[in-house]
Amino acid sequence: MSATEQRVRASCRSCGAEILFESLQRTARCPYCDSPSVVDRPETPDRPDPVFGLGFAVTHEEATRRMRRWIRGRKMGPFGLKDRAAEKVKGIYLPTYLYSATAYTTYAASIAEHYKGDDRERKTEYRDLDGRHATYVADILVTASRGIPNDEIEGIEPFDLGALVRYTPALVSGWIAEEPSRTQEECRDLARQEATAHVAELLRGFLPGDGVRGLRHQTVLEDESVDLTLAPVWVFAIRYDDEKPPIRVLVNGQTGKVFGKVPLSWAKVGLIAAGILTLIGLARLLVWLLR
């Protein structure tokens, strides 16, 4: 076996044929006997060992059905999109980091308190309030893959973290499992942004009064932990135009939630605009004729 950079060549344990594990892949199938293999590389700071995983629960057929239903709902998508079969379908264990921390926040805001004035109209009095807030932030999942950006992962969240399992090669055996391609620091920063946004959301529900304005807060995150977690995702690539890149649609492999970015069909927008203009013209014509 040789390990050059992160690419690994190994002999298949079943038939002896050579298998190549690409640098960002944790799993491979022997091209001759189809035996699934899992590679375990030495740990590095940006490529730690997976700690947790979530198993696939949605079958290929179910994921395809959900993707088709979702595509049918994209009325303003390009022509022909609904009829195109998925060019590529992959069930991938996507590397993500599961982040948790203790969040200590100081905040200040103007709190609105309503009251009835002498004229019996509702009036608002603003009172300053500052204070401290402390909570654990948990279950923040951010992508560790350069291939799938974080907003796409957010699109298919939430994952049911109650079904989390300790990582074992058996979980990914026979599937594509990607290694992290983003640095841990990059992912940690992404997670910190999500954690801070989450605290801001909590604060909005926490503060009293009839409204809040000018909320300022500063959050310090302590006792952080990031655990590499493999998340199950069905990835569909649908090509609707040979000149354009395919559309990527993700299906949560655990819950079946679908997300994708379908471009707007300007031809459909133009047709609808033309239809509306024609209707307006006809209505005016009718009014003119009836005079």
Binding site: R13, D40, V51, E113, R127, R132, A170, L207, G209
Partner: protein
Amino acid sequence: MTTPSAPCPRCDSPLEQDDLRCPICSQATPVGAQPDRKDATVEVLRCDGCGSAVSYSEKARAPKCAFCGSVLRLETTSDPMEQTEHFLPFTVTRDQATGAYRGWLRGLGFFRPSDLASAARLESLKALWWVGWVFQADALVSWAADSDHGARRAAWAPHAGQLEMPFRDILVPATRGLSEPETAQLTNSYRLDTARTEPLGDGETIVEQFDLRRSAARRQVSEAMGRLAEQRVKDGHIPGSRFRNFAAAILLRRLVTLRYAFPAYVIAYRYRGRLFRTVISGQDPTRILGHAPYSGWKIVGTIGGILLALALIVGLLALLG
């Protein structure tokens, strides 16, 4: 019952051995030391039964051998039914409980039937252990609320604060058999330092079982803690006398939850054909709560007497005026 392992490094709460993450703060539980690998290793997972390669099956939701159908178990957070760990012994005998019940009937007051103590017929006296959790924790409670203190033009003014709040030996009932007022009456009658690991009874004692899984139990304890924290903050920390929009964030540390069985007697008695129930602590016969009938004649007579007295006073005042 699972064996507790090392406490969580973040919140210092004890962990169950099969927890993957701390149930309080979600910190991953530590795994044993892993061997330091210099080279990549490749593994083909084989079925223990037939030796064929194993792949993860989304239908089985587990790694499965395609040939013989064997399924491998993955390590996940288990969610077992709660089991009692500590039993408090009965220190009140059946005779003492019966005596306490008779005394309670006699001391219920004027508005009960005069023959209640003599006519009530004891139908049954059952000894039972009812179940509940006892927890201890340290919490940093952040709160915010509107109160009437400091109000100006509006009726409310906003307030906020943060305080350390210890919780010591807080009992959260898990029983389905006893009502909330009954367990509230019994709660402070028990001595936790008398706990034993086995039930010691006369063989006729009923042992109630927890009918909740661990995750549901944790939720119930957290909710009880939230309610208690809110009550404590409202009682002594928010200025003013009227409140609204109360919110609290609780940062828990060192949460220890123990599962207890508490001794009690449940008495059923019949009075003029109707059945009533009384519950007595198995460790303190003065802790007793039950239902008893009221005397309609006495209530009507008292109200009539008061009305008559009022009418006499009004009549007298009219004559004098």
